[in-house]
Amino acid sequence: MNALLTVLLLMTALTGSGVALTRTPRRQVMAMAANGLVLALLFMALQAPDVAFSELTVGTAALPLLFLVILASIRMDRSPRDGDKQGPDKP
């Protein structure tokens, strides 16, 4: 067990907790990107370059982007709550 792996594993736990414990979605996206980056580094250290590459493209770029897009459209969403006659739960 080398020191690099130990540090990266601890950082994974730390950034992962950061994602789970960040309450605001917008900040969480940043935490997710950071977590993705640390995971990619960890995978490099675990001798898995293919997986690291995927994690980098998906976890650090594509997914946070989708989250941002969704958050933007939720913020913009002003469509009337015609719903199905149920309306919002909170008045």
């Binding site: 992962g16 994602v19 675990l46 370059p49 293919d50 969403d77």
Partner: protein, 118 residues
């Protein structure tokens, strides 16, 4: 201390699972909950790759090293690749569902949303 580092990958995997579930249980926003799901998934990555790890071995790619040099397990890496695709697709699907839900109900608090109202 040495014993601790030996166990560290399993502890980290279990911790990610637990903290991800904790985040989901206490979440007040569905998009945040979906983010926590990715933490749960990260625990499977760590577990699988740690299982396939081998000390003093290179990546399972014999481009610069000749075949036969010690390398880590390629099978778990293939499994994790599939896992990443699964995670990404399910996350995207969940985000789409959450967005539509917001359009219907105007809020996304998992502690308020019930599929069927009384």
């Amino acid at each position: 201390m040495n014993r601790f580092t030996e166990l560290l990958p399993w502890i980290v995997a279990a911790w990610l699972l637990a903290v991800g579930l904790y985040g989901m249980i206490t979440s007040r926003h569905y998009v945040q909950l979906i983010g926590c799901l990715s933490v749960v998934q990260a625990s499977t990555y760590v577990l699988l790759l740690a299982v396939g790890y081998r000390r003093h071995a290179g990546p399972p790619i014999f481009y610069t090293h000749p075949p036969g040099t010690p390398a880590v397990d390629p099978v778990v890496q293939a499994l994790v690749l599939t896992d990443i695709v699964i995670g990404a697709t399910v996350t995207a699907l969940l985000l789409a569902l959450a967005l539509q839900m917001h359009k219907r109900r105007g809020m996304l608090d998992p502690q308020e949303l019930r599929p069927l109202s009384r």
